[in-house]
């Protein structure tokens, strides 16, 4: 383990942040009730501990981690000093970090149930899209005639924002949840579809020829050769689809839901509880990071055969 100046700087920033929270009182209009600083203090402490453990574990990517933690630390410190201590901006629109993080203690019930309902809708819509779009696109990409029909249609329809369908989905489908699932399905469908078709179309002829010489049945050809060969492109479509699903979900919930993360933010926004709006945004950001991390893991596993130093 080698500790350089930047490592010390990052550690220093978080220690300073802790000391500031504990020792220096906030501006009068930015204070929270007795003991309300605890959550923010805890979050900063946990970040600091994670960083120090990472430092001592001597991981290879510590440089990258350090850079990210540095940016995070500077932002939190600036927030704490300029908003929390000095209250330079309108305290109503710009609450202190202590205020924002105190929301998690206050609203954790509603947040957790919102998280669960959002997550269920997101995953249903997304997985449905994967299950339908990928096999369909494989078949269509594989058959020239079907491709000639489907691709212009896909090009025309795919840029339409999926939320446009929401009113129709709400009218036609029994519940709000099913309408949201449908809209996420539509939103995730096109990037997956286009990514997969693109992947099938760009498979190396030589690999296909090699597969053809084995005399495979079409079903085997599609599942064992065409799908894995197109997989890198399927995954780039799937990444876009996932990000789009998050946006669609939030917008859909803001329009018509009665629970969920998007709904929570929108609801608090109407009551001008900006500390809760920001807390909701932080929770949403954290959720996205966690989901993308798992997605990355799955992708790395499925594409582990792609060598960096390969031919």
């Amino acid at each position: 383990m080698k500790i350089d100046l930047e490592n010390l700087l990052v550690t220093g920033i978080f220690v300073a942040l802790l000391l500031l929270v504990v020792l220096v009182p906030n501006a009068a209009n930015q204070t929270v009730h007795e003991g309300g600083n605890g959550i923010f203090l805890g979050v900063v402490a946990v970040i600091l501990i994670i960083y120090i453990i990472g430092l001592f574990a001597g991981k290879d990517d510590i440089q990258k981690t350090t850079d990210i933690f540095l940016i995070m630390g500077v932002l939190l410190l600036a927030w704490e000093i300029f908003i929390g201590k000095l209250s330079l901006l309108d305290p109503f629109l710009f609450p202190s970090p202590e205020k924002v993080f105190a929301v998690f203690a206050e609203d954790y019930n509603i947040m957790i149930s919102g998280l669960i309902s959002s997550f269920a809708i997101l995953m249903s819509g997304y997985i449905l899209a994967v299950v339908v779009a990928v096999p369909l696109a494989l078949l269509i990409g594989w058959r020239k005639r079907a491709f000639d029909v489907a691709y212009p249609i896909a090009k025309a329809v795919s840029p339409i924002p999926p939320t446009v369908y929401l009113p129709y989905a709400i009218v036609l489908l029994p519940t709000f949840s099913s309408a949201s699932v449908f809209v996420i399905f539509i939103g995730a469908f096109w990037p997956l579809f286009v990514g997969t078709v693109h992947g099938v179309f760009n498979i190396d002829r030589r690999i296909l020829n090699s597969a053809r010489t084995l005399g495979l049945k079409e079903r085997v050809m599609l599942s064992k050769i065409v799908l894995p060969a197109a997989l890198p492109s399927v995954f780039s479509g799937a990444t876009i689809a996932l990000i789009l699903s998050f946006i669609t979900l939030t917008v859909a919930e803001m329009i018509a839901a009665t629970s969920g993360l998007g709904w929570y933010i929108e609801y608090q926004h109407q009551y001008a509880n900006y500390d809760k709006v920001i807390a909701g945004m932080i929770l949403m950001g954290a959720t996205v990071v966690v989901v993308m991390w798992f997605f990355d893991r799955i992708q790395k596993h499925c594409l582990r055969w792609q060598s960096v130093e390969g031919p």
Binding site: I207, S210, R212, L214, L216, W305
Partner: protein
């Protein structure tokens, strides 16, 4: 073991205006258990010819028959090795073999396939690399694996399209020996069609060498290679007969090229004056 017959083959592509003829009136017979090389400069249609026999491409005119039956598309009775890209990069070395065995020999059980894949991996000395992906193997190892796959599939014939073209000379010699060794082991030797642009390789490996010329692709001559097997490089390369055969092939091979070169030289000389 199989006889290959190419009858009145013409392959052309493009629209009528700018029609390119890749193969023009090609007739060829390869008998059971023969090792036949196709040599010629690039553009002579030797790979196209191999694709025709593999069933990857259909002739514009004429037909290809195997054992007297016209072929209709590719099949596991014809094992193919290309210069590269024969293997599937998402399957490990072992999976590549197992997959090919499983789909070429329908009556084999899963366990038998796996055992056979392991045996062939050992045969080409790649047991240690069984769970490595082709992308992490060297070019030589990949070709060894492709050849193991071809032998494991146990087809009627082997079709090879410059299989050692991308290897350095040492690896190349090693692969030539491995191929001859595996091929000679069988009591009933497989029929082989082998595309190369290396005259020495063609002589070393083949019973017959087919010399082709470009634009349009035609068979110029079929030359017998009379040397007894097993052939040893040091004896072969120094023998008088070998040198005569080699220069004969090379002159056929390069007549056209020499004409082109002479023309180009003349032009250059005219310019410089």
């Amino acid at each position: 073991m199989a006889r290959i017959g190419l009858k009145d083959i013409i392959v052309s592509y493009g629209k009528n205006g700018s029609r390119t003829v890749a193969l023009d009136n090609v007739n060829l017979d390869v008998s059971d258990g023969q090792f036949v090389s196709l040599i010629g400069p690039s553009g002579c249609g030797k790979s196209t010819l191999l694709d025709l026999v593999a069933g990857l491409r259909k002739p514009t005119n004429g037909y290809v028959e195997v054992d007297g039956f016209e072929i209709n598309g590719p099949g596991p009775d014809r094992g193919v090795v290309f210069q590269d890209y024969s293997l599937f990069p998402w399957m490990s070395a072992l999976e590549n073999l197992r997959f090919a065995i499983e789909h070429s020999q329908e009556k084999t059980t899963k366990e038998q396939c796996l055992a056979k894949a392991g045996r062939y991996l050992e045969l080409v000395g790649l047991s240690k690399f069984s769970d490595k992906y082709p992308g992490t193997l060297s070019g030589g190892m990949r070709q060894r694996l492709a050849i193991a796959r071809m032998f494991a599939m146990n087809p009627e014939m082997f079709l090879m399209d410059e299989p050692f073209g991308a290897l350095d000379s040492l690896n190349r010699a090693f692969m030539q020996d491995l191929l001859t060794h595996l091929w000679s082991r069988d009591k009933e030797r497989k029929t082989v069609l082998f595309v190369t642009h290396d005259v020495d390789e063609a002589i070393l490996l083949s019973d017959k060498v087919v010399v082709m010329t470009p634009t349009p692709g035609r068979i110029k001559e079929v030359v017998d290679v009379p040397f007894p097997r097993p052939r040893r490089r040091q004896n072969l390369f120094t023998s008088q007969d070998y040198i005569i055969l080699r220069s004969k092939l090379l002159s056929r091979f390069s007549e056209e090229m020499q004409e082109d070169l002479a023309k180009q030289e003349n032009e250059l000389i005219t310019w410089s004056i």
